[in-house]
Amino acid sequence: MSISRRKFLQSSTAGMALALFGLSGKAESASGKKYPSLRIGNIRELKAGEPVQFNYPDSTSPCTLVMLNETAIGGVGTLRNVVAFSSLCPHMGCPVNYKSGRFVCGCHYSMFDAAKNGQTYQGLASQWLAQVTLRFDKASGNIYAEGVEGLLYGRISNLNIS
């Protein structure tokens, strides 16, 4: 591959904090294993358009939580505008960066619409970006990751990594 490494470093997701994992996720993967339930943020701490990084369903899978300015497919919160996606491009695994309603890959410029299920609307990724299933607790404002729809880049199974 002849992709600029400097470009990669600029958009690297290095430095993300590893959150603590819960034990009782709702979603079940095709492997029969259960996704963990993980608190990834609180709606009162989110600002529209400002992404927050987290890892899910394990420490080697960087993801992005973001509040959009519009209602989104799979969105949670009272305005159904909070979504989360894998931060790795499903095409060849480069980091995707959130900007203005979409995720852009720095390697081949695939672009994914954050409000429309992570659909590839430009670029090379034949698979859409994997979207994290969220649960919103209205009382506390907490947002939980509870599953992943779509295959995470580079994996044969989202949960089967040993």
Binding site: I73, G74, L88, M92, C94, D113, S126, A130, L151
Partner: protein, 853 residues
Amino acid sequence: MSLFTRKDRLPIPPKDAERFTTVCQYCSAGCGYNVFVWPVGKSGTAKNNAFGLDLSTPSPMLSGHSYTETMHNVITRKNGIKYNLAIIPARESRINKGDYSIRGGTNAIAAWSDTGYTKKRLKHPLLKKGDSFAAISWADATEIIASLIKSSIDKYGADSIAMKFFDHGSSGVGFEDNWAVGKLFLSGIRTNYLSIHNRPAYNSEVWGSRERGMHELNYDVDDARLADTVVLWGANAYEAATILYTEHIMPNLQGASVDEKKKEFDAGEPAAEGRLIVIDPRKNASVTVAEAIAKERVLHIRPNLGTDWILANAIARIAWENGWYDKLFLEKRTDLKTFEDYKTKSLQLSRTLNEVLAEAEKITGVGRSEMQQAAEWIAKPKAGGFRQRTLTIYEKGIIWNMKNYDQVAAIAQLNVLTSNVGRPGTGCGREGGHQEGYVRPPAPTPGSIYAGGPPKNVDKYLTGGGARIYWVGGTDPYLSTPNSQFFKKVLKKRCATLLDHIDEGGVPSDPKELIRRVLDGFEKTDGLFMIVQDIYMTHTGNDAMLILPAAAWGEAADTSVNCHSRLLRIYDKFMDAPGEALPDWKILSMVGIRLRELYTAAGNQEMADRFKEMDWKSDEEVFLAGSHEFGNNKIPETEEAKLSAECYKGVTHQILRKLGNTGIQTPVRVDPATGELTGTKRRYKYSFSTSDGLFKWYGTDAWSGYPAEIAKYIDNPTYPFWFTTGRSQLVWQTMYHDRHLPEKSFALPLPYIEVNPEDATRLGIKSGDMVEVFNEEGTSVALVYVNDACKPGLVFGIMYHAKGSMNHLTSSYTDPKTTMPWYKGTKVGIRPYRGTPDEAIKTTSLLANNDVS
């Protein structure tokens, strides 16, 4: 929650999975792929599998191994057993190096699956009975076609048969199928009313280059990394030949190929990061992606529609004026007699540079400084006097332009004038649409108006009442032909007329009775018997009398070459075709054999002989039969220009299976010194493809305005917008596969246009609105995307889509020299649609696809 069912786990191919090599079925890049097939229920493990990788840890980024949701499917073979199918990009291919496009990444899910997205494939021959289709046997279908063709030829002559067939490679066809088409129609039937899948005539799209002695596939993919300057002229490579762009042009811009340049260039020659010139009226993603990488080394030129040859000649004049050419090269390699005509008409040396450029500015809308910049990047010698290395890649923006012949010739000549051919980092040729795989007996029209042409316009023949039988193979002209609203209206009526005549007195059951009534209908009506041969039902097929189910990619062993290296490889058979579907060559073979029998029985040996040598038994037998068309190829490297660009004589399927993703580059020679089969990396290092080996110049026409079909719209306020068309990154051709895949049908649900924000404001429309686009040719309904790809006053539309065609709007104008349409230029009005917008816009992205910032 998700718009469609997603996967979070994929089956693992066991070590003993069946393996095949193939090449992507889609665009001209021709990326290498590896295929794995294993029974459902069997599985490899994370540590022990056919990929030979440890799958227990995630692949690192850019590892070159990709296996995603769209790269797996479940197929059923003729034995009734279900198999897993994985089709993954080949790391070892020098074309794609493990990379893949949004099209190629779906090769597996587009494969026929009786439980998956693609279950609607055609499975049996179908005959229209009354108002619907009923399955019939191949024996009856063959009998009907052969009998009707024979009777029609005997009574009305061969020109009563019209056809429109693929002539390309890949997409489920290859040299094998093309040879069969040639044997039936060119050797056997011998009609003059032939047309190629995407246009109304049987012509080369690039006679303007070929008749100079330069075949359009002359460069190697490496040249895109070695060039000092790459020119994309009417060629949106990022979206239409994606891997050429991301693996070869992009690294050059990024400076990642400087070391390669140092190895290939002459001693002391400067080698630096590459530059890119994009000549295209739209600021599409090929421009914006390049600008995001190295804006200072990207030049975007936006000529007025139809004016590119004037621009090419102006750039050539600047190069000439500055002496940026190699006198010795011109004298030794090109024909100085015809050069005079070029100097007079194209360079216009009798006029001053100022006069020429002032006029060019006025016609093209391109400023002189941009022309100057382009000339410097293309031709100005580098420090130390080394010649610039420029690779120019053009495609439909030029081919489907006004004046096809002059456009192509002007660009070819600009490159030869500046010695940009035959050296590493140079070349001038097509980007291509499909891959190629053409081998046929000689066509009735050998060339342009300057070489025995022009060829017949089959569309005009059919709409004017010509032909009794129209056989369409592997294309959907109701969507793809110019002026298609009119075309399909007339054909629909002619097909219905014949059907009414046949059905009078009850729908016939016996094929013999059907044949009798059709022949009676030919005599008494202007009815048309339309045959459609394809893998799915098509828009055109709905009006056909007979539907023939063909095998798709992967269901037969085919061979093709890609466009950027002429790399010949095998696209192996890894699965069975659905139902009774057959390879295209086999269908044509059955009809040819039956025609021979009928003519023999009738005692007409001369006609019977025309259909001989069509009884091939295997894919490889047809491939080998076609190879004899290429003549002697036992010649030294210095004479490679004498060979046909796609010559593969001496190559077998077995050899190609051994070569796998490595392949061999055509033209293939048998080297006289070693006796070995030898490929050709890049062409025309020693001579050109003319009788004396010299490049033949041509003096292009002067600007004389627009043809009548377009001139009628100029200054007419009802049609204020210039209108051009093209492809989308997301889908392939008519979306014959993509319309069934959720990843594509959600993302591109409707035919669309792109409108500049200024025009959108004036029209009171926004992204997500529906509009009617109209002119005197026809109307199309489209979804609106507002973005800055087009300048105000210009509107872009996807050329066609599963749900509609923008060719309703294109005119019937063709270049009188080549019969090539101007698909990419007309004028239109736009009327906002005031009803409820289509539901599909709720789930589709409306974001600007050219904004990568």
